[in-house]
């Protein structure tokens, strides 16, 4: 993304500089792309009411109206009825809301919908279907890597993204790489089996 989409009159770079925490804050916001000098342009103020935006989700352009404060997660779930991503911690801790933005796993609760404009968003609905599952999804079913299943779509997204960057993970790499997702029912044994098997079968 570029800072053209920043929703206040203050550019993010200027804001972060002002706080003196630029590098730290960038590390905390996984969705932030590298800053460029072009980003110094002051964008037009948007909001505070609902504004029309277009999101490219699973290859389709979807138009919707959201207030600038609406998160990508809430836009997906509440405006577009894409409910595969779940709202659990709502604070970037549990990973149940994981989607991919430009191929990278992102906590959609921690990104604004307006920030996602112009980027390639993939949600769990964009992977497989119950009758045509991806290798990761098949492995989750086979190894019973789910109980109540509420964390499962987030884990499936995280696994898919992880395997695309780590096609042959070790057990320890997988444990670390999926450490940003939490399950309450305790399906980790199945998840580890599933991710390692999906890796053998060529990942996503």
């Amino acid at each position: 993304m570029t800072d053209n989409n920043v929703t206040s009159g203050v550019s993010r770079r200027g804001f972060l500089k002002g706080l003196g925490v630029g590098t730290v804050a960038t590390g905390l916001i996984p969705s932030v792309a590298p800053e460029t000098e072009a980003a110094e342009q002051r964008p037009a103020l948007r909001g505070p009411g609902e504004i029309p935006i277009t999101l490219k989700i699973n290859g389709q352009n979807r138009q919707l109206n959201v207030e600038p404060r609406v998160t990508l997660l809430d836009a997906l779930r509440n405006r577009l009825d894409l409910t595969g991503a779940k709202k659990v911690c709502d604070r970037g801790t549990c990973g149940a809301c994981t989607v991919m933005v430009d191929g990278q796993p992102v906590y959609s609760c921690s990104m604004l919908a307006v920030e996602a404009e112009g980027r390639m968003i993939t949600t769990v609905e964009g992977l497989g279907t119950p009758t045509q599952m991806t290798a990761v999804q098949k492995a989750f079913v086979k190894h019973d890597a789910q109980q109540c299943g509420f964390c499962t779509p987030g884990f499936v997204m995280a696994c898919t993204a992880f395997l695309s960057s780590h096609p042959n993970p070790t057990l320890e790499e997988a444990r670390a790489g999926l450490g940003g997702n939490l399950c309450r029912c305790g399906t980790y044994a199945g998840i580890m089996e599933a991710v390692l098997e999906a890796a053998k079968k060529g990942g996503a």
Partner: protein, 717 residues
């Protein structure tokens, strides 16, 4: 109704097998719609206003400003509420066009409070109120005075919260005289109660409950209430606005008010003879369940029911905390931690190997042989003999990282509950099973399909299972106490058996034999004596023409127990192998094994998943979980998932599960599994840490600060 039994091991085609859950694909692809995912046309979002004070009088509530916000469609407050008794107590709610507007509006509700004194401390017995519960057997004082060794200790386990990933709540739609409700619940058949009906202004029999998938309950989702005593707010707001309303708790409230397993603290004295036999158990316990009931310590010494001399005094501390709710095996994890800690400390005092000690004292349980067999299997799985050492032994390790093993044993009931099932066979060969039950993640749908498929000789694909709705679906109890799989398996077995018999009565004349000479197997109706003389399932059903066969099966728990279809009371053993860094206090789980019996297992894969899941949940409450309250403000300070820590993938070590099978176990019938394996983990971990670092860390969770404090204090107990 036909007499039914379970097929012999060599006759089973589906029951007892490793079978993937049938709703796995919809869950793995995000297609499964949970209650939180229901979006109805024109739906409003509700949010609740809650008390920031732990105890206060409600002086006035002014909703004018909130109601004036564009997009706000209804504001409600509880006119009967005069006093709030914990932070998070619900006082008002708004419904608005978007979630964001609702969030903004609740900040504009002005509530005036007169703050009153509060009390949230639960680890001090002098704060107890009322008459303590007391249980006595034999003469504990005399037995302690005569014992070869008396070991004293103090132990504790804090309040923890369920942290269901799907928050508590529902979508409610009052339409004329009818209410449609999509709750996240453990009890679909009982959800539409009188209170909910009143909230929506409809008759109770006009409530249509639908919960196809729910994101975790663990005991906290039996009622419609967001918190104990709370009003049916979504129904009230839907009635007011004439629109569907979604009300799900935000995460901070979910953690602070929608869970709360009672704490348990104890001073315990154990008397034992030189050979390790426990002769006396004397405990004073205290606990809080907020304003509600507290830990029932009467089940101690747990599960050593035959200790001859016992005195248990159970005190209750009323606190200004959210109300308690059932948590996976109510009372048992606490009783297990308290008892097992005291017993392992006794073994350590006697310089007796912990495994030998438990093998010896298994005689004091209700099922000595089961525990002994399970202890031996668990020891083999963990490589106990090679790793074990006495507490304080140099074998724990020469460096700062010490290694140790801990053992715990547990029991649970798990008798299948009341359940009814309708099985319908149609002329096109289709089969449908309907039950007003729910799937918390155990795999209820799959187990029903297995039992019906097994009975009718069909594959899983041949059975369509419909659950998650109340009447007119046949009623089934809520999922609590590990009672669901026993209940639904019997009701579906009976319904399928009766439906099959009705079909065989139609088929028999065509095949020229008596109905009782026929059986259903491998997708066919065939002669028992001449299996090659057969008719395909579809051909047989075609004889029904446009008729359908529908039969209802009913599980009556006591009768089914007598008939050995289901049973209660299981035993389980768990062992943990941990490393403790005595410089940092960090505990690392290396390996944990669970050995469990649960009678006849319907689905081996799903049953194992329950045990793995229970172990992991146990690791979380053993090492990390605690609702931390600030005494001064009365607030839960870690009501988020960053600081209310669950176990992650890197925390759980290597896990091994062994389920007891074979005729001796399977002939008992089905027994529930969900709860028992969640009982021992905390105790096994605590005993392992004591074995590793030479001192007892008295309170769970076994966090670095507690480990360091215990090491500094020193001593065996």
């Amino acid at each position: 109704m036909a007499k039914v039994d379970w097929p012999a091991a060599d006759k089973r085609s589906l029951i007892g097998k490793h079978i993937s859950r049938t709703d796995g694909p919809v869950k793995a692809t995000g297609a499964a719609k949970y209650s939180y995912d229901i979006n109805r046309p024109g739906m409003l979002w509700a949010k609740v206003v809650t008390s920031p004070h732990a105890h206060a009088e409600v002086v006035s509530i002014d909703t004018t400003a909130a109601a004036a916000i564009p997009g706000v469609e209804a504001v409600w407050h509880d006119e009967t509420l005069k006093e709030v008794v914990y932070v998070g107590h619900i006082v008002a709610a708004v419904a608005a066009r978007t979630e964001e507007i609702a969030q903004e509006a609740i900040r504009q509700v002005k509530v005036q409070y007169k703050v009153l004194p509060h009390q949230v401390v639960d680890n001090n017995p002098s704060l107890a109120a009322g008459n303590p519960a007391e249980r006595k057997a034999g003469n504990v004082e005399e037995a302690l005075s005569k014992a070869d060794v008396v070991v004293s200790g103090e132990y504790g386990i804090p309040v923890i919260t369920h942290c269901c990933l799907e928050a508590h709540g529902e979508v409610n739609e009052v339409k004329g005289d009818e209410m449609l409700v999509w709750p996240s619940t453990q009890a679909v058949s009982g959800y539409g109660n009188q209170n909910l009906a009143q909230g929506g202004g409809v008759a109770q029999n006009k409530i249509r409950v639908d919960c196809q998938h729910m994101g975790g309950g663990f005991g906290s989702k039996f009622n419609f209430e967001l918190a104990p005593g709370a009003k049916p707010i979504a129904a009230i707001l839907s009635k007011k606005t004439g629109k569907p309303v979604k009300l799900m708790l935000d995460r901070d409230l979910e953690l602070a008010i929608a869970g709360n397993r009672p704490s348990a603290f104890a001073k315990i004295k154990v008397g034992a003879s030189k050979d390790g036999t426990v002769t006396a158990f004397d405990a004073e316990t205290w606990s809080t369940g907020g304003q509600g009931g507290a830990f029932n310590s009467g089940i101690m010494p747990y599960p050593l029911t035959k200790v001859p001399n016992v005195r248990i005094i159970g005190k209750r501390i009323i606190t200004n905390r959210g109300g308690q709710r059932a948590w996976r095996a109510p009372n048992h994890p606490q009783a297990c931690l308290l008892t097992m800690s005291a017993l392992a400390d006794t073994a350590a005092q006697l310089k007796m190997d912990e495994l030998e000690f438990f093998l010896h004292n298994a005689a004091l349980t209700d099922r000595p042989e089961v525990y002994r067999e399970e202890l031996r299997i668990a020891a083999d799985m963990l490589g106990y003999k090679a790793k074990a050492h006495l507490r304080g032994d140099p074998k724990a390790g020469a460096g700062p990282v010490k290694r140790g093993i801990g053992i715990a044993i547990h029991t649970w009931g798990g008798l299948g509950h009341n359940s009814e099932c309708d099985v319908t066979i149609s002329g096109d060969g289709s089969v449908e099973a309907k039950i007003g039950t729910q799937d918390l993640g155990v795999g209820t749908r799959t187990c029903i399909a297995q039992v019906v498929g097994e009975t009718l000789g069909l594959s899983l694909d041949g059975v369509k299972v419909e659950i998650g709705k109340n009447s007119p679906y046949p009623p089934s109890n809520g999922s609590g106490g590990s009672t669901t799989i026993g209940g639904i398996s019997v009701s579906s077995r009976k319904a399928a058996t009766d439906a099959l018999n009705a079909l065989l009565a139609v088929v028999a004349p065509k095949m020229g034999v008596a109905a009782d000479a026929l059986e259903a197997a491998e997708g066919k109706i065939r002669q028992i004596e001449k299996p090659h003389v057969a008719m395909s399932w579809n051909e047989a059903c075609a004889l029904l023409g446009k008729e359908q066969i529908t039969k209802r099966g009913v599980n009556v728990p006591a009768e089914s127990r007598t008939a050995k279809l289901i049973d209660a009371n299981v035993g389980g053993v768990q062992m943990a192998d941990v490393s403790v860094d005595i410089e940092t206090g960090v505990v690392t789980l290396n390996e944990m094994v669970a050995v469990q019996d649960c009678g006849l297992i319907v689905n081996m894969k799903l049953c194992e998943s329950q045990v793995y899941g229970a172990l992991i949940m146990g690791v979380a409450y053993g090492l990390y979980e605690e609702c931390i309250y600030d005494a001064k403000t009365g607030r839960m300070v870690n009501a988020d998932m960053e600081f209310y820590r669950l176990a992650g993938l890197k925390d759980v070590g290597k896990l091994k599960v062994h389920l007891m099978t074979g005729p001796a176990y399977e002939s008992r019938g089905i027994i529930g599994i969900g709860e028992p394996p969640a009982i021992s983990p905390g105790a096994a971990l605590s005993n392992a840490v004591a074995n590793a670092c030479g001192v007892r860390v008295p309170n769970l969770p076994l966090t670095p600060d507690r480990v360091i404090a215990a090491l500094q204090k020193g001593g065996i107990a």
